[in-house]
Symmetry: C2
Subunit: 333 residues, 2 copies
């Protein structure tokens, strides 16, 4: 009976934790960083619709899948994608092996930290440079390089670790959805390796729930030791039309809720909205230059044009960071 005793003790302690934590918070608002405006009301309404047993809009827990873009949706993406800062270090270190880069526009923009030039060049040529920079590296070495960088790098405006720049309202939303039986996934154009080392601590999202751009990787025995080695190119770019494909490949089912902030999320929004039953599509609009940044149409990083038009046309929820969020970052007063 020791297995049974263990299981009972485990359940009872889970119950005790639940009671005490609920007791402490009482009827506290699960989304305190959200103002009580339309987006929050719609979120709460959606969760009630999909989780109330016996309701015609009830959704089985297995199908309660919520997908979140990362850059600009869960954390800040300005002055440019944080992954680019990491790449700077990697590319700088690799230029000795690649003298031909000295005339490359993307390389020059990275080394000069020329945000304007990087915006004009776009993400792809830069990602290609870094892909080459890290070609031949073990995935374990790459993982360590990311962790080392995160431990010391600081954001140029906020002068804090990049992982401090996650949005408090979105952290609350992730936790609120999970508390209601949803599973939360990141679906990002960024590299999956770049997010996995910190996504669990920042968002409560484990590595296997991070869907992203994939590097070519090959399997090798190095001195008899099984190793995964990074190749020079991408195996799959999980952006724009790649997002519904990445979701299909990883999950084999459709999400019922999607959260994003740019045209790179449009096809993920469309695919999510097209399913049967209740759906939640929510677009974060960056309109708060005091607490964060203001950008939308025409921005090369996080541009919001077509997805905004379609959101207005189809009644998807557009969140004004300025008006709908009481707080942006955890460190905001």
């Amino acid at each position: 009976m020791s297995q049974l005793r263990k299981a009972m003790l485990c359940l009872l302690s889970a119950l005790a934790i639940l009671v005490s934590s609920r007791g402490l918070r009482g009827q506290d608002d699960p989304l305190p960083s959200w103002n009580n405006s339309k987006p929050k009301q719609k979120i709460v309404q959606f969760v009630e619709q999909t989780t109330t047993a016996g309701s015609p809009t009830f959704v089985e827990p297995a199908e309660r899948i919520a997908v979140f873009d990362n850059d600009g949706t869960l954390w800040c993406e300005k002055p440019y994608y944080f992954q680019l800062e990491f790449m700077l270090e990697q590319v700088r270190a690799a230029v000795l092996k690649h003298p031909e880069w000295k005339n490359d526009a993307a390389y020059k923009a990275i080394v000069a930290r020329d945000a304007k030039a990087l915006e004009a060049i776009g993400m792809k040529p830069v990602l290609q440079l870094v892909a080459k920079a890290n070609s031949g590296m073990l995935v374990s070495q790459y993982d360590k390089a990311i962790r080392d960088w995160l431990a010391t790098a600081r954001h140029p405006r906020f002068e804090r670790p990049y992982t401090d720049l996650v949005y408090a309202p979105m952290q609350e939303l992730l936790a609120y959805l999970r508390a209601n039986g949803f599973r939360t996934y990141i679906v990002s154009g960024g590299s999956v390796e770049f997010m996995r080392p910190w996504a669990e601590k920042a968002y409560g999202i484990p590595p296997e729930q991070v869907i992203g751009t994939q590097q070519e990787v090959r399997y090798e025995l190095k001195n008899g030791r099984p190793s995964l080695v990074r190749g020079p190119s991408f195996a799959f770019v999980n952006d724009g039309p790649g997002k519904p494909i990445g979701i299909y490949r990883s999950l084999g089912r459709l999400p019922i809720a999607a959260f994003g902030n740019s045209d790179g999320d449009l096809q993920m929004f469309q695919m999510t909205a097209a399913g049967q039953g209740p759906r939640l599509v929510l677009v974060i609009h960056h309109d708060d230059e005091t607490r964060e940044y203001a950008y939308d149409r025409g921005s090369r990083v996080g541009g919001l044009d077509k997805a905004w038009d379609e959101a207005l046309e189809k009644g998807w929820i557009v969140v004004s960071m300025k008006n709908d969020w009481a707080k942006v970052f955890g460190f905001d007063k």
Copy 2:
């Protein structure tokens, strides 16, 4: 307090179910279809090692990942991979659009149901034919075609639905591992689409825990409706050295237990065994032609050569279906 009440009721009912089901089974053997020989003892020992709190070999639940090959490990793969039978129907229907196939060796072998020729040709040319056959199909149509086929097709020897030909000992093992906090994944050379429709019912493995060979898929708006359309080629072949890569891409962490039956699993075995801490690598040996089939070295379907040698050399567990399994299929007496 209604949220709290709901959570408490949910926990209490889970507890009640647990108590009653344990009560009914008492100290029953969780692996009744396994004889009490070395493989079963090793499995139970591994589970105790990794789940006993305070033990130096304890593994956190998040890291308790077990990966299972499908064909020949979880269900039968003879006279040839069941997916080929499904392909037969698909390819036959598509030959009208592809008259050039009439001289293709793989096409001729499929139509003639020539098992020997198919073994000689191998899986890849046949998979390529079917990939072309279904090119342009919506993924939802393909899913329906698989479900329709499964509902009517019968195995030539056992004259039963293919989904009856799952191995009872492995179903028990999957359930036993999950009851001990493991997460169970399929990692197969077969197409992910072919397994997802029935893996949950047969094995308790949901679609997002099926890792397999991936078709090229493109995103399209068809009359304004978001659609995923199958392309003519593979995006990723999850076999041999592809298996550790597929695991890395999907999970971002190493399994601690791996189950397979052929050389296509060798690199997955190697990668699993290479990690720190307790590891379980188990190779199913098909040596029971009375209840199932007997094959190993030199077989084109499910050949077991190098992986067998390495299993013996490294002390991985080799399961004799004949001696270590009390039962093969659920319908065996």
